[in-house]
């Protein structure tokens, strides 16, 4: 394998099975005012068939991480460091070779064969994520024709079948409609149909339900879970909604200012959070089954401006457990604190 030496120790499961393994990823946007370090050392692992919830405040680099994996970061942004190891499926569906996506040409044939076919993306704006002048079907058929050796007619049949699967009623008619003729929920279903039309092994969902009402949101999440059961793909679910994470995720990575500060199985995150930021994040959301009327405590302070990041641990100015002389001087690194549980904090070094 071409993994090189990972900066953190990996347990057996990690080494043998990861579908996606991101190591110390850095994606910067050079601007006139200075460099925006949108992603500044992200490390996490994602296992086949699992759902990794990525949570963190707005602007912490979740979307840029997703786009870095797909190699579609907008200019002038670019990956300046790190590795993204992705295990490509073999033709018979088994696990195959891993490739470091950061080494591929963003628009080269290999990356384009992966993008859309093996890693698919759905994101927030169901309104504007379809072209307003092409029919929904046209855009799904295009994806199928691109990655599969089928005739146009077959691609169309597959599209209708896929729309049916995601719960679009009368798909034969919908297939020729414009996105503006569909409701928000239907549009997101069509988006999911498009993403899954080529049976990816990894689905990246960037806040797929943020723009939807609560009922539709539940339906879409249920649909994703059902399709995951049927197709067995892994999901990287980006959200700021910890409720969604609790419902969907098997593992969670918590991001703060371009870094993963904690990754753990979902139970550990909710019941034994280690990083002060994770704890603060959990305290800031209402709990459904809370026994007492526990008070919500918002995280003190605001997310720093991306141009001037705090020195040392980026969270130290807002941290309840701030240790002067340590946290503001050096940056902590991710260390294992339990079974598949890693934290980046000096409390555990």
């Amino acid at each position: 394998m071409d993994c090189g030496t990972p900066p953190i120790p990996m347990d057996v499961r990690t080494a043998t099975q990861t579908l996606l393994s991101v190591r110390n990823l850095k994606t910067y946007f050079p601007q006139d005012e200075g460099t925006v370090k949108a992603v500044d050392g992200v490390t996490f692992d994602l296992y086949p068939g699992a759902t990794l919830g990525i949570v963190g405040e707005s602007g912490c680099g979740k979307s840029v991480t997703a786009r870095s994996i797909l190699r579609i970061v907008d200019r002038p942004g670019r990956i300046v460091d790190g590795e993204i190891h992705f295990r490509r499926p073999t033709t018979n569906g088994g696990a195959g070779q891993t490739v470091d996506l950061t080494k591929l040409e963003p628009n080269g044939p290999e990356m384009r064969a992966i993008r859309g076919a093996e890693i698919a993306l759905i994101f927030q704006e169901p309104m504007s994520s379809f072209s307003p002048v092409h029919s929904v079907g046209n855009q799904i058929i295009e994806a199928i024709l691109l990655h599969q050796q089928v005739s146009r007619r077959d691609a169309r049949d597959k599209t209708i079948e896929m729309l049916q699967r995601v719960g679009v009623s009368s798909p034969e008619a919908r297939v020729d409609q414009l996105a503006s003729q569909l409701s928000g929920g239907l549009r997101q279903r069509a988006m999911i149909a498009m993403a899954l039309s080529c049976h990816p092994t990894l689905l990246i969902a960037d806040e797929p339900t943020t723009a939807l009402d609560v009922t539709t949101q539940t339906q879409i999440l249920e649909l994703m879970r059902q399709l995951q059961r049927e197709d067995g793909m892994a999901i990287m679910l980006i959200t700021h909604d910890l409720g969604v994470v609790a419902e969907m995720a098997t593992d969670v990575a918590v991001m703060y200012l371009g870094r993963v500060v904690e990754q753990a199985p979902v139970d550990a995150i909710f019941h034994a959070p280690q990083h002060p930021y994770t704890r603060a994040l959990l305290r800031s959301i209402p709990r459904m089954r809370a026994r007492s009327r526990a008070r919500l405590t918002p995280i003190v302070g605001a997310v720093p401006h991306p141009y001037d990041r705090p020195s040392g641990c980026p969270f130290h100015p807002r941290c309840a457990d701030f240790m002067a002389g340590t946290c503001d001087r050096r940056a902590p690194s991710l260390r294992p604190v339990g079974d598949q549980h890693t934290v980046s904090c000096f409390l555990y070094e």
Binding site: I72, F123, E125, S129, L146
Partner: protein, 329 residues
């Protein structure tokens, strides 16, 4: 969709009517009526118009009757293809205009096509490679194109052609073919002469369209559907040409209508400099000489052409933008 086109067609009819009223007003502008000036004109040429003939003319044009009757009588003649008599040229207006109207259309459409052929790819390049060297070069040339008056450019090209190649670049035909009847050779001759006037006439428009295309496309490139297209694994060229360019083109389809008259009016001086047999110089002369039937006719015909152009661009817009088809079907 039919309702949309129907509405547009109705608007076109109304506009044509307004233009005809304007043309009629132009004809009515000079003091005295047409027949009186016609008689005076004829007298100055030594021929006498008989009273009977003058009376017939008065009846034909409804002179002495209410103004709307005169307008209707004039319209009746126009619809039959009789545009009146040119005082200045002493010939019927249709004869004076002759091929010039069609040549104007040919030159203008050529300029428009050339504008697009140049502006669209350059605009796309400028947007996709924003702030690259190529973008700056295109911007620079674009501003020069906007800033240099096109007649000056015409003069420079004439001069260069003459001094460097000892060739006379003006005109739309080689002199031998100028007055020859239409033939394959003449059409080919026209075709060979077209690029330079089209380039000169289209340059300012090209510069402007590059800016518009660049701005439109930059807007579209930021839209999420571009990310969607990219995330499918399409090649970058296909992503850009199929999606954002397609949307950035919409505003262009709707500019055809008003670009044409812009080119025609902008062409007057260039046509004079280059000796192009278009209606532009004719209109100028007619206005100076107060040759009102000629002027009014040219305004009328150009106006109608523009309306037709606009209607075509409206229909084109329906074709490129299916969203319009959905509006109140």
């Amino acid at each position: 969709m039919l309702a949309y086109i129907g509405r547009r067609a109705l608007l076109a009819v109304f506009t044509v009517w307004a233009i005809s009223a304007l043309a009629f007003a132009i004809i009515q502008l000079p003091p005295g009526d047409y027949v009186t000036s016609y008689i005076a004109q004829m007298a100055s040429m030594g021929s006498v118009v008989s009273d009977e003939e003058a009376q017939n003319l008065r009846i034909q044009y409804g002179l002495g009757q209410p103004i709307y009757v005169q307008y209707l009588k004039w319209m009746e003649l126009v619809v039959q293809g009789d545009f009146g008599f040119s005082m200045e040229w002493r010939r019927p207006v249709t004869e004076v205009i002759g091929d010039r109207l069609w040549l104007t259309v040919v030159v203008s459409v050529a300029a428009l096509l050339l504008t697009w052929v140049l502006a669209l790819p350059i605009g796309i390049y400028s947007a996709v490679r924003q702030y690259s060297v190529g973008d700056y070069v295109a911007t620079f040339i674009g501003f020069i194109g906007l800033a240099v008056p096109n007649f000056l450019l015409a003069l420079v090209i004439l001069y260069l052609g003459f001094t460097l190649f000892n060739a006379h670049i003006g005109g739309l035909f080689t002199p031998e073919l100028q007055d020859a009847p239409w033939s394959q050779a003449k059409v080919w001759d026209l075709f060979k002469h077209l690029p330079i006037p089209a380039l000169i006439l289209g340059l300012a428009g090209t510069a402007q369209q590059i800016r518009i295309m660049r701005a439109n496309l930059l807007d579209e490139l930021r839209k999420p559907y571009v990310v969607t297209a990219r995330s499918k694994g399409l090649s970058e060229a296909r992503v850009i040409l199929k999606y954002p360019v397609r949307l950035a083109l919409n505003p262009f389809a709707s500019t055809i209508g008003y670009t044409l008259p812009y080119i025609v009016s902008g062409s007057i001086i260039v046509s004079i400099v280059l000796g192009l047999p278009t209606v532009g110089p004719l209109l100028l002369k007619a206005l100076i000489a107060q040759d009102m039937f000629l002027a009014g006719t040219i305004v009328l015909l150009l106006g109608v052409m523009t309306v037709i152009g606009t209607l075509i661009s409206d229909i084109l817009l329906v074709w490129v933008d299916p969203r319009i088809r959905l509006e109140d079907t």
